[in-house]
């Protein structure tokens, strides 16, 4: 379980995240929605230690992570798929996947065969240079790269950005299946309503660095007033 308590962080003197508190259970998919600039990416980066928290705590499975360097947070079992995917374009698909393994404890890591079962495309194109992939294929690779180390919690930052709708749907279904099969917890920052409907169990709406509303996905499916309130400009 990932638990954030009174977490504040930001860039320089500007505070983007204010007293953010929330709990994310393993095995549940939580979608974090909100307009641009509301602190969603900052939250994920703060959890990963890429931005240092100014105050508050990040606890994961009983360990306080807020002062840890990023690579130890990753090794503690939190996988991260950054915005823009950030795959290694010059490396092959296999090398990208290897990089997801090399820094991790081999005990908890997943075999490549498991990854290929979930994403057969990566097996077919194992030797292809990742930079030649389409946006959607790169996204699949970035997700697989984060999964191969065997995380217990996966943070996804706008995985559907700039990706064609058919692939968005496939990724959503596959992630939902993986979460159900493995008990993986997912925290996904997303603006794409279709993706959230496919994948999430729970939705948090964020505004100005704080959670304004939290509800079950069924509530969102039945009534889209919240979507209008927190997403429309």
């Amino acid at each position: 379980m990932l638990e954030l308590r009174n977490l504040s962080s930001g860039y320089g003197d500007a505070l983007v995240l204010r007293d953010f508190s929330c709990r994310f259970e393993n095995g549940r998919v939580t979608a974090l929605m909100g307009r641009n600039g509301m602190g969603k990416t900052t939250l994920l980066k703060t959890i990963m230690g890429l931005i240092k928290a100014k105050s508050g705590s990040v606890r994961f499975d009983g360990q306080a992570l807020e002062t840890w360097p990023t690579h130890l947070i990753a090794r503690a079992g939190i996988g991260y798929v950054p915005q823009g995917r950030e795959i290694f374009e010059d490396f092959s698909v296999t090398e990208n996947l290897q990089l997801g393994l090399l820094g991790q404890d081999p005990v908890g890591a997943l075999p490549f065969s498991q990854i290929y079962d979930w994403f057969p495309l990566l097996k077919e194109r194992a030797d292809q240079r990742a930079g030649t992939f389409s946006g959607g294929q790169q996204q699949i690779l970035a997700i697989a790269r984060a999964l191969v180390g065997g995380p217990k919690m996966l943070l996804l930052d706008e995985p559907t950005e700039g990706i064609q709708p058919s692939i968005v749907h496939d990724i959503g279904l596959q992630l939902a299946k993986i979460a159900k099969e493995t008990g993986l917890g997912i925290l996904i920052v997303e603006q794409n309503v279709e993706m959230v409907r496919t994948l999430a169990d729970q939705v948090l709406f964020m505004e100005n660095g704080e959670i304004r509303e939290s509800c079950d996905i069924e509530a969102v499916k039945q009534d889209d007033t919240l979507l209008h309130r927190y997403l429309s400009v």
Partner: protein, 286 residues
Amino acid sequence: MSELIPIFLDASSYILILVLVALGLMIVFGMMGVINMAHGELFMIGAYVMVLTQDMGLPFLVGIVLAPLVVAFFGLLIETALIRHIYHRPLDTILATWGLSIALKQLVVLLFGPESHSVPLPVDGSLDVGTFSYPVYRLILMLTSILLIGGTFWLFLRTKFGLMARAVIARPATAAALGIDTRRMYRWSFVIGTALAGLAGALVAPIISVDPQMGLGYLVPGFLSILVGGAGPLAGVLAGGAVIGGVNNLLAVWISPVAALITVYVIAILIIRLKPEGLLGGRRAK
């Protein structure tokens, strides 16, 4: 035809030594983007370690082993105390390492004096084929250089360490988020680069005069080779070394050393002007 062989052998020897000296620089500057002005002095320290071991009457191979170790230790100190605080701050890096280079030069002057030293050739004799003969040690040096270039390429292009190092250099934050200890990778890449400078110094010591000013003479063509060849890809140093070393050596024989140097700089300026990213393409196209 047969008179061309020594000329080309000389040019190849010059190119290979230039690449050998630039190899460490290729890692530290080409891959990591750290402009280490003291790299030439690390090369010099390697040569002085060889001078010292020879003065003590130790076998040549002891110097070959000790030089990279001693210089790697310097590299570790420099990285920990200086470079790690100023990665991604090029101007500060240039100033800090320039200061360091002056300090190291003065240290050597204090310890060994300002005069030049020489190291006896570990292998005398020359290889005679038909009418021409060539010093055996130069041939050994060429072969060693080829092996070291191959070994460095293998380390960075074929091993897990190399894959992680290249990943950290391309996308440090992403690599860290995958669990890779970026501090450690930066540190050891830098130390390997400095160890190679030390090894190059020890290997080259018997065929040059070892003095406190020797670093600069090798640092400049080294940087130039990498800029001309392209700082991103590892092979850039080979292309750049071939152009810089080849032109310099051949023209020095055929015309004059001064004309050769002028031509080298004109060619370097033209290449950098026309292909700012170097012959083999740019550094880290993001």
